[in-house]
Symmetry: C2
Subunit: 113 residues, 2 copies
Amino acid sequence: MEQSRVLKSLSAMAHDTRLEIVRLLVPLGKDGLAAGAIAEALGVSASGLSFHLSQLEAAGLLTSRKASRHVIYAADCKALGAVIAYLLNDCCARDPDICACTDEARQTEQAGA
Amino acid sequence: MEQSRVLKSLSAMAHDTRLEIVRLLVPLGKDGLAAGAIAEALGVSASGLSFHLSQLEAAGLLTSRKASRHVIYAADCKALGAVIAYLLNDCCARDPDICACTDEARQTEQAGA
DNA sequence: TCAATATTTCACCGATATTTGAAATATGGA
DNA sequence: TCCATATTTCAAATATCGGTGAAATATTGA
């Protein structure tokens, strides 16, 4: 993944509402959620949400599809993984401290799940 | 790590020059590099660099120490790891796609190193 | 077709972020 | 002390971002 796309993704995630959107959508996988349901879940206006969804979609972190009169948004987990992978590749290289933290996170997560 | 700190870190990294600073400093570990040397390496003005360094330091991603008339900046690898860990914890949970990507990255990195 | 629902687009405004260059501060050495 | 080096601070200009509400678009069902 090129740095310019990583930057776009980081910018997209670096906003309270948008990070919440990602957190909401990732567990739902490809099923995703309609824009209106996302707006309700997060307590934001429809037009405001639409703006944030478009940012995330432009960054490649979300996909959208129409279903009847709804627009369903879903997290693109591969893209999210690629961003994290870039950070690990760039930052983790030769640095045990960073890998250690992510390893702990992974183990904690798997133990808890 | 609380979400507000993660947001601050993501905002700090979501900038071309600042991501370059991180990429430059991480491999150098605790030795770090003087502000002037960073500015030269990246081809940016001293005052511009100072602004970006302060953003990264405020986010907790860099540490600084004075050495004679220099100010040495170093990446805080634990903090970087914590940000990545947060993303994995939040986003990777129950999602094999994301973990798969980071696993590949890890293996590629370790094979290449 | 008409009305209701779902979402996006638009224009406007205020808040933030970034760049620039000059000036201020701090340090070390002659 | 005086000068050169290293860095930060400041103010001004510009650019970008985010929030708001009205209007536009698309879809469905009566």
